[in-house]
């Protein structure tokens, strides 16, 4: 029986969507299977409702994956300055063990986590791609920045990335398709503070339109990207790659379709997939190429769960590498009130960024860089509820008056740092807990080691210093991932490399020994970068992987 599709893509997030689009451009017929639902910007997002502040990104049936956590680490008093706290609540993690208050933040749906991301569109720092050979930690990428650069250009063009003229470490063959967004007043204030400390603060490359582009309107600076963009100007992949893939007529997206099996026989060839739809009916689809793009938690889960006589440890796991080298979001955020009005409820989240410490050797006595950014809207300080519950003390008439006086004064600075692999951070299958289809749940093990704590300390101290230099006196809240596992970016659990002994896929992102199974998500990253948001790199990698596969015939 001939297959109806040339390729099956599992997962419609950043990587799967980019891969699907590329395949359609090359004339392939593609089936995209997405475990989560569609989201309709006209109906599902609530930024135009009076109670918009009580409407975070919507949860729909099937839109949140289930997973578990291993035991988190004991906290060490020497890092008490890295504990999360709030000026009224006190410490946000009680006791002496790391908590999981927030956990792995993601969306299952057509668009994946780009649906709720704020839309930073970062290229990886070329200096962050040779950590092992140049700094003796982590792993090297099996290719360099020059190899990825043309694919970055293509992804940026499709999305309509708005960015600055200055390139810094990230050389470019072509300018950004759209000019950078103007900085908000709040970000200009933080830029002045950063400048007083000798730090440069530049417009952040953003997957949000600064001008009308590709039939989509420009951003109107409502600040609510993470609640879902009703205007469609944010470059979430449902509005960019998927939309164009569907337009080609060669792509079909099946939502609420959960893949159970990667079908294979006695040879290392994937023949197709078995999946279950939202009504519980099982289906089989076959294709000559299968692309796994379920993210750095679900991709290793699916590989580990697909055991057979041929691969008793799971697909791609002959050397026990699947699930290892888990890298997470190492982050810090400091929040304060400025004495002067900042109109900080408006603008584009993360509109400004500081790359000064982004290289892996940029922080003294620490390996691995970090970046700093304007985080006021990123931390959701954009409405009266946020001020009333987080920034203003007490209650009563005084609380009301103080809220009116302080609204729009909030400033927040965030930092995200390199996450290096360590033996205690990995993904495995939970020994007993299973999903509704009987598949074991993924279990996340995470450990923040001493080097990470030193990096975090630098990040925290710099955030505090910039706020102080910007004119803020007392901090109101700080949150970090030393004492509270919270990850939006996840990487490394099926990393690419040369040898199957220390990697899962090769430089073309084929699983070692399985030529027709490609990985196109953050699981393939050998290193996380110095705080860059990964979606653009995931997309560039996916475009490259598809091209390599098709050109190889």
């Amino acid at each position: 029986m001939s297959a109806a599709f040339d390729a099956i893509v599992i997962g419609a997030g950043a990587g799967g969507a980019a891969a699907a689009w590329r395949l359609t451009r090359q004339g392939c017929k593609v089936l995209v299977l997405e475990a989560g639902p569609w989201f309709d910007p006209d109906k599902d997002y609530g930024l135009d409702k009076p109670d918009w502040e009580a409407r975070p990104f919507p949860v729909k049936p099937g839109s949140a994956g289930r997973h578990r956590y291993g035991e988190m680490q004991q906290l060490d008093p020497q890092w008490d300055d890295l504990r999360s706290w709030h000026h009224e609540s006190g410490r946000l993690v009680l006791g002496d063990r790391r908590a999981v208050r927030i956990g792995y933040s993601h969306v299952r749906g057509v668009g994946g986590s780009t649906l709720h991301y704020v839309g930073e569109a970062h290229r990886l720092n070329p200096h962050a791609m040779k950590l092992h050979s140049q700094h003796g930690v982590g792993a090297d990428w099996p290719f360099d920045y020059a190899e990825l650069e043309p694919y970055y250009v293509e992804a940026e063009r499709l999305i309509g990335v708005a960015g600055p003229v200055e390139t810094g470490d990230r050389w470019r063959s072509q300018p950004y398709p759209l000019p950078a967004h103007p900085l908000s007043r709040a970000s200009r204030t933080m830029a002045a503070g950063a400048s007083a400390l000798g730090l440069s603060w530049t417009p952040n490359p953003r997957a949000a339109l600064s001008q009308a582009y590709d039939g989509r309107p420009p951003c109107n600076y409502c600040g609510g990207c993470s609640r879902g963009c009703p205007r469609r100007d944010k470059g979430s992949v449902d509005q960019t790659f998927i939309r164009h893939a569907l337009k080609s007529g060669r792509c079909e997206v099946r939502a609420r379709a959960t893949v159970l099996d990667l079908l294979h026989g006695e040879q290392r060839v994937i023949r197709g997939v078995r999946y279950v739809d939202d009504k519980g009916r099982q289906h089989i689809e076959r294709a000559r190429l299968v692309i796994l793009a379920a993210g750095a938690i679900e991709t290793p889960r699916l590989l580990l769960a697909n055991r057979s006589a041929l691969v008793p440890q799971g697909i791609g796991n002959d050397h026990g590498q699947v699930g290892r080298n888990f890298m997470e979001t190492l982050s810090w955020t400091s929040m304060a009130l400025h004495p002067e009005p900042q109109s900080s409820y408006m603008g584009l989240p993360a509109d400004a960024i500081c790359w000064d410490h982004n290289r892996p050797d940029a922080i003294a006595d620490v390996v691995g860089g970090a970046r700093f950014y304007s985080a006021t809207l990123d931390t959701d300080l954009m409405g009266p509820v946020a001020y009333a519950t987080r920034m203003v003390d007490g209650w009563g008439a005084q609380h009301k008056q103080q809220l009116r006086r302080s609204f729009g004064h909030a400033l927040a600075i965030g930092a995200i740092g390199e996450s290096l692999p360590n033996p205690r951070s990995f993904i495995d299958l939970h020994p007993s807990e299973r999903d509704e289809h009987g598949m074991p749940l993924a279990r996340i093990h995470s450990y923040v080691d001493e080097m990470a704590c030193r990096r975090l300390r630098f990040m925290a101290q710099t955030c505090r210093a910039v706020l102080k230099a910007a004119g803020c006196s007392d901090l109101h809240m700080e949150m970090g991932t030393y004492d509270d596992f919270a990850s939006t970016h996840v990487f490394g659990t099926c990393r690419s490399g040369v040898s199957p002994r220390d990697s899962v896929c090769n430089e073309q992102h084929q699983i070692h020994g399985w030529n027709n199974l490609l990985l196109c998500d953050g699981s393939t990253f050998p290193s996380s970068g110095g705080g860059e948001s990964p979606s653009l790199t995931i997309q560039a990698l996916a475009l490259r992987a598809v091209d390599r596969f098709l050109h190889a015939g």
């Binding site: 208050r101 409502c222 993470s226 609380h399 995200i416």
Partner: protein, 184 residues
């Protein structure tokens, strides 16, 4: 980055908002109250007995009177905006509690505790209410009073400030979309 939860609710060993009531929290409250003179009638031992956990009452019960008074103490009317009860905030919270057994039990237990003093929380003098609320706001997290204070405060502010009638005096008078903002 993308959206996260920025809750000020700390991690707790028990996920239930309602811990076992412990005698020392009542003693602390009584000490505070005693300074104001209205707690003298209370007896710590009896208080513990009276608030010993019982199953949640079945069916839709009437809202405890202390709940409305407590929320209006947090969000009173002023020259620009109405009190929380005028925007039906206590009713909404009580309605939410009908589908959340833990929340309902927490409200019932702590409101019963608040009503123990004088003729009930709602008819206490403002400075007496203030003393009690202040004590609850700083009680240890293990106590039901602190959890009640935090949970109800968060919910009350959220339900209140998601109503346009509460936005007078603020620089925003409409939701962020569809108009957005012009950067200044």
């Amino acid at each position: 980055m993308s959206v996260r939860t920025f809750s000020t609710w700390p991690s707790l060993s028990s996920l239930s908002p309602l811990p076992q009531l412990r005698r020392r929290w009542f003693l602390g409250a009584l000490l505070t109250g005693g300074l104001l003179g209205w707690a003298a009638r209370a007896d710590a031992k009896a208080a513990v007995q009276r608030t010993r956990l019982k199953p949640v009452s079945q069916g839709r019960a009437d809202m405890p009177p202390a709940l409305r008074a407590f929320i209006d103490h947090l969000i009173p009317a002023d020259e620009l905006t109405p009190a929380a009860s005028a925007l039906r905030v206590p009713d909404h919270i009580w309605q939410q509690a009908q589908d959340d057994a833990d929340l309902r039990r927490l409200i019932e237990v702590v409101c019963a505790w608040m009503d123990r003093y004088g003729e009930g929380f709602a008819v206490l003098q403002p400075d007496e209410r203030e003393a009690l609320v202040k004590w609850m706001s700083t009680a240890p997290w293990e106590s039901p009073q602190r959890r009640f204070f935090h949970l109800v405060r968060d919910r009350a502010f959220t339900l209140y400030y998601t109503q346009p009638a509460a936005w007078k005096g603020l620089p925003i008078q409409r939701p962020p979309q569809p108009i957005g903002h012009v950067l200044d």
